[in-house]
């Protein structure tokens, strides 16, 4: 992407400073009696970070994101963006932040290219630059064949790509993306992560991601906040969080359905073996004894009973489970 940034944010050590944010919906007694959407959230986001926000539905992620783009005011606390208190200087958000909501419904009757063009122009690009950027983004995201089709007539995945292109146009120094890879096929998901990484590396764009796609996001996220029931329950660099919860090596075993009965008795005998799904198990072994333990487990389970197995260190999903007590895919199904 070859767009020049339009606005230079003030020199500051911190992009977002979120201090003791809480939110209760409703008014008066109803607000006091309601479960808070988020409680006493504090965190800083530094320039050039790719920051992830993980949590189940109802954890408070969307509320926090909407507070960060000033669509919702906190009941308590303060949010500053490049030093500006966004409650008193809401224009700071419109100048410095590009926000991609989960469902981009605003521009349904525009064509894909028009939607990108108008957003760029509304953000302050010249007509010529906005037109050029729109044409470029349409090609980059594989929307060339549908550029003149109304957004409402696009598929879910194409809609998502238009939403992403709208967020990327005009090169804001901060981007907040809510589930950017929903409904995208694997090749486009890869392209999204690669593009975000490139933006971050080449332009220093600060990116804040809300995602359930932990496994893919893990590859680009630097720091992460894990939310549960409106609170941040874990915060830090991905590697640090993984080391905190577990220095174990994870052995994932996929049993052949017809031979599972032969393998499972051996698995029950291992202390840290856990069944995730029918025919899918994980065993956590200490890093220091990983080689011997893995050999012992595989010998006990026997390779001919396995469809597949994988060996890796703790994942972000493990971190999520450790902090919240539940798998994120379980949360999605509930």
């Amino acid at each position: 992407m070859s767009q020049s940034p339009l606005v230079a944010p003030p020199a500051t050590a911190t992009v977002y400073a979120i201090e003791h944010i809480s939110k209760r919906y409703g008014r008066g007694k109803a607000a006091l009696n309601s479960r808070p959407a988020n409680q006493d959230i504090s965190l800083h986001i530094e320039p050039g970070e790719i920051f992830g926000l993980l949590g189940s539905n109802g954890a408070g992620k969307s509320t926090l994101i909407r507070q960060m783009v000033n669509l919702v005011s906190p009941s308590e606390g303060r949010i500053t963006l490049f030093g500006y208190d966004i409650a008193h200087k809401p224009e700071a958000v419109t100048r410095y932040v590009a926000y991609m909501p989960q469902k981009p419904t605003a521009l349904l009757d525009l064509t894909a290219q028009e939607a990108i063009y108008f957003t760029g122009h509304l953000r302050g690009m010249s007509r010529a630059d906005a037109k050029k950027a729109a044409a470029q983004l349409v090609e980059e995201w594989g929307l060339g064949e549908v550029r003149h089709k109304a957004v409402r007539h696009l598929s879910g995945g194409q809609n998502r790509l238009v939403g992403l292109a709208i967020t990327l146009v005009a090169d804001r120094p901060v981007m907040i993306l809510d589930e950017p890879t929903n409904e995208l096929d694997p090749s486009f998901r890869r392209q999204v992560w690669d593009s975000l990484k490139e933006l971050n590396t080449q332009r220093g764009t600060t990116i804040i991601l809300v995602t359930h796609n932990i496994q893919e996001a893990e590859q680009i996220i630097g720091r992460v906040a894990i939310m549960s029931q409106g609170r941040i329950v874990g915060l830090g660099r991905v590697g640090e969080l993984k080391e905190k919860i577990d220095r174990s090596v994870r052995l994932e075993l996929f049993l052949k359905p017809e031979r599972a009965e032969l393998a499972e008795p051996a698995l029950y005998s291992f202390e840290n073996a856990r069944q995730l799904k029918p025919n899918q198990w994980i065993v956590l072994v200490p890093r220091e004894k990983a080689e011997d333990d893995i050999h012992r487990i595989l010998s006990g389970v026997r390779l001919e009973n396995l469809e597949d197995f994988r060996v890796h260190t703790a994942t972000l999903e493990d971190v999520y489970m450790a902090y919240t007590g539940r798998a994120i895919e379980d949360e999605e199904g509930s």
């Binding site: 783009v69 409650a87 224009e91 958000v93 926000y99 909501p101 419904t105 605003a106 509304l122 953000r123």
Partner: protein, 243 residues
């Protein structure tokens, strides 16, 4: 102004594929009204015919502009469309103006067609001049402002459109749009002074007969002040950014 043009074009895009149906629907009410009155009455006075013509212009504005802006703003609030604008450097009153102008473009053909139909049905010669061209937008904005207000403050989309639907008939029946004020009950006459449709219909009638009296300018002044105040008021009530 750059902002306004983009916002306006985006609003027009909402009608890109549905404008023929909206224009036709907007014409159906005056057409059927004219046809009905032509069939059941004979030898109407020119004053009666004038009320029918000018009144139906207002009625067509009620059914397209007022209802349309109400539904549009309610939709924008309910389905997250305002979130898009709220995170852009967009001036709120310009968005309100752009939405209203979008509907005006849609209803202008309806207003002129209603006038032509009325002339054809009732053989009435009316004076279409610059003031008429100015009055139709002013009338349209006054009614769309009411619709916008309802759309912005109603708790949900269904409530907004229901209230708007009721108001259409209140405006039609409680103001001297289709019949002279003297035929309305006295209490309704007093109430009608609060409704912008009263001034819009009166100004249109006076314009079509080239009667530029003090009353005409009073109607014009009311509409201009009402439109400006309403636009600012609706923008202030439209909650899209916190703080």
């Amino acid at each position: 102004m750059l902002n306004f043009w983009d916002l306006f074009v985006i609003q027009l895009a909402n009608w890109r594929w549905s404008w023929p149906a909206t224009v036709i629907n907007g014409l159906l009410v005056p057409f059927t009204t004219f046809f009905f009155f032509k069939m059941i009455t004979s030898g109407n006075s020119s004053e009666t015919n004038l009320y029918l013509i000018s009144g139906n212009i207002i009625v067509s504005l009620l059914f397209t502009t007022m209802y349309g802006t109400c539904a549009r703003f309610a939709f924008m609030r309910t389905f997250g469309v305002l979130d898009y604008y709220a995170t852009l450097p967009v001036y709120k009153p310009l968005l309100v103006l752009a939405v209203n102008c979008g509907f005006l473009v849609l209803t202008l053909p309806t207003a002129f067609m209603t006038l032509l139909l009325g002339e054809w049905f009732f053989g009435l010669q009316v004076s279409v001049n610059l003031t008429f061209v100015i009055l139709v937008p002013l009338a349209s904005f006054s009614l769309s402002a009411v619709g916008a207000f309802v759309g912005v403050v109603a708790p949900n989309f269904d409530t907004a459109t229901t209230i708007s639907g009721i108001l259409q008939f209140v405006f039609m029946g409680a103001s001297p749009v289709l019949i002279p004020a003297e035929r309305l009950p006295e209490i309704v006459q007093w109430f009608s002074y609060l409704l912008p449709s009263t001034y819009a219909a009166d100004a249109l009638r006076l314009s079509l007969t080239a009667q530029y009296t003090g009353r005409f300018f009073l109607d014009l002044a009311f509409l201009i002040i009402f439109d400006l105040a309403a636009m600012v008021f609706v923008a202030s009530k439209m909650e899209w950014r916190a703080g």
